[in-house]
């Protein structure tokens, strides 16, 4: 996997250029969808760092998404914070929450880790409902327009929103690429492949996994905050189990343990629903069928299977 450095950076830079340029040739409708997809992809990239690279199968990432969402939107609602500080608060909250969850949950592994994270997230979801006077509970709340601004630009308008989503996405993607190519990235993969052996090589699995989870939480928190700020709504449904399964689905569809996989999975899933719902009102059947067919042809996800067969250099 080493040696292809220039090729790898060129590929990812090219993807970013195409995505950036897409705002000029896509209709406003599809450009807005792309902004949504980029935010979802950031969430999925974070999930991928924990699951795809480090092997931590979490079913609780909705909690991290929601932590970021509320850490950004409650100060915006109550104290009029603008998007910049709110986003930073969201990112930090995602990381902190991941650290807190990790300290307890990382005592477990495998399916037990999956269940513990699931239950923490469920408790978090209920907590949001319990504190409805502040969180808006299940109804949620619309963010005040004044707080949805960054450097004087309104995030409620198309171009600034797209650029903000792109900025988050591009930094997430590049950071993710740099991370997995670093020595820490290789340690993360070592945890996934053989924890016992890496322990003998002198790594502390607990700290490595905790660090990976916290980084994953930073992504999830950033995505949650960005969703609230760019699309103007925060609500408890984003803390429900559905939003723990979604990033896993994006990652598995695109290719777990590939840098571009989460983005690809998010695009695929979004437009699969879009096209299927134009075909028939029973569109979920088509979506389900497509998932089954896709996984039969690409059991490692799209990019995972491409990497296995043709492009072993893909990070």
């Amino acid at each position: 996997m080493t040696g292809g450095g220039a090729r790898i950076w060129a590929l990812h830079a090219a993807v970013l250029v195409v995505v950036f340029a897409a705002q000029y040739w896509l209709s406003p409708y599809h450009a807005t969808n792309l902004a949504r997809i980029m935010v979802l992809a950031v969430f999925a990239m974070g999930y991928n760092l924990a699951f795809g690279y480090t092997g931590l199968l979490s079913l609780g990432h909705a909690l991290l998404l929601a932590a970021g969402m509320y850490a950004a939107s409650i100060p915006a609602q109550l104290w009029g914070w603008t998007a910049g500080p709110a986003l930073i608060a969201g990112i930090a909250a995602g990381g902190l929450m991941a650290g807190a969850v990790g300290l307890l949950a990382l005592r477990t592994a495998g399916v037990s880790f999956m269940i513990v994270t699931l239950m923490f997230a469920q408790a978090g979801f209920l907590t949001i409902l319990y504190f409805a006077p502040v969180t808006g509970g299940d109804d949620g709340f619309a963010l005040p327009a004044a707080s949805r601004t960054i450097l004087g630009f309104s995030l409620a308008t198309d171009t600034p929103r797209f650029l903000a989503a792109f900025g988050l996405f591009a930094s997430g993607l590049l950071a993710s690429l740099a991370l997995v190519r670093s020595s820490f990235g290789r340690t993360m993969v070592a945890m996934r492949e053989n924890e016992e052996r890496s322990r003998m090589l002198g790594y502390n699995p607990f700290t490595v996994k905790l660090a990976a989870l916290v980084i994953s939480g930073l992504y999830a928190g950033g995505a949650g905050a960005a969703w609230a700020l760019l699309f103007g709504y925060a609500g408890a449904s984003f803390a429900s189990i559905q939003y723990s399964i979604l990033p896993m689905l994006y990652v598995l569809l695109g290719g777990a343990g590939t840098v571009l996989g989460p983005f690809l999975g998010a695009v695929l899933m979004f437009y699969l629903i879009e096209f299927a719902s134009d075909l028939t009102s029973a569109y979920l059947f088509i979506v389900g069928l497509a998932l089954v067919i896709l996984v039969l042809f690409a059991p490692k996800g799209i990019l995972g299977t491409i990497r296995e067969r043709w492009a072993r250099w893909l990070p």
């Binding site: 005592r107 592994a109 269940i115 513990v116 239950m119 189990i241 998932l291 996984v295």
Partner: protein, 292 residues
């Protein structure tokens, strides 16, 4: 209500919750234990059982008990057949790869839900209990059928335990669970074992659906909760341990029931959820699992 009767009701409700959990988890415990795959569509097999119970009840004439008994046979067989087909057509071709299986079973979940919505509709329809028996205590009334569910859960788990421990099929399944490769070298048709396990697990889920639907209504989204809860029960109990599954169901059911006496409902739910999670944090292998 005074503390005594309140506690009695909380314990009865806890027991019923435990029975529901144990029933829903029995099939998953088998599939997860033997095949080690996360079947996201497991709850949908449960839902199909409940929906089929409604269909059978509305087609079969005579008293509710007749339809109920018919559904107890028909629903597990049909759902088991569907699961066997899904296994042969999809999971086997994925070689039971854990990650690919998650995607495939999410796809299966969408298909089953949409098909049910299109054919059956979105409403929650009641299915009559096989018998009407209401217990009237001095402080409150209680559904006799709920107590029957507790009994049924005991019978189902006992039957499953005997099947796994005392029959040749059970022995083969346990052997496959311990070591797939060795089992194959002893001439066991592992593919067939897997298909049988998957079908049996789905059939058990459908059976649970039939048993529970008289107290919960048949609705196309009803599979979500049992899926999560039965995963929790199976893992807390310890993978592959039926006794663990039963005890975990009791622990979760009874703690849920009694905690709800002392706090406002949502707060009680939060506390109960965190407490159960803590069991796993401090005993990662589950109550009766072997340390990995």
């Amino acid at each position: 209500m005074a503390f005594g009767p309140f506690l009695l009701l909380a314990l009865m409700e806890g027991l019923v919750t435990a029975a529901v959990l144990a029933l829903a988890a029995a099939g998953l415990s088998l599939v997860f234990g033997v095949m080690r795959v996360v079947n996201v569509a497991h709850g949908e097999f449960y839902m199909l059982g409940a929906i089929l119970a409604w269909v059978v009840a509305s087609v079969v004439p005579g008293p509710p008990a007749v339809g109920f008994v018919a559904a107890l046979v028909i629903a597990p067989v049909l759902v088991g057949a569907l699961a066997a087909a899904a296994d042969g057509l999809i999971l086997k071709r994925l070689h039971y790869d854990p990650e690919a299986t998650i995607v495939a079973t999410i796809g299966l979940l969408y298909m089953i839900q949409q098909a049910t919505l299109s054919l059956y509709g979105p409403n929650a329809n009641p299915v009559p209990a096989p018998f009407e028996w209401r217990i009237q205590l001095p402080w409150f009334g209680y559904s006799g059928y709920k107590l029957f569910v507790v009994l049924a859960a005991g019978v189902v788990l006992l039957a499953l335990w005997i099947f796994m421990r005392r029959t040749k099929a059970g022995l083969i399944m346990r052997a496959t669970q311990v070591d797939r490769t060795t089992a194959r070298s002893f001439g066991i048709n592992v593919d067939l074992v897997y298909m049988g396990t998957f079908a049996l697990g789905a059939g058990l889920a459908a059976l649970a659906g039939v048993l529970i639907v008289p107290i919960q209504q048949a609705q196309y989204l009803m599979g979500g909760d049992p899926l999560l809860l039965s995963f929790i029960v199976v893992i807390i109990g310890g993978l592959g341990s039926l006794r663990g599954t039963l005890i975990a169901a009791l622990v979760i059911g009874l703690s849920d029931g009694t905690i709800s006496m002392f706090f406002t409902p949502t707060l009680a739910k939060i506390i109960a959820t965190l407490l159960v999670a803590m069991v796993l944090v401090f005993r990662p292998q589950g109550l009766f699992g072997a340390r990995a």
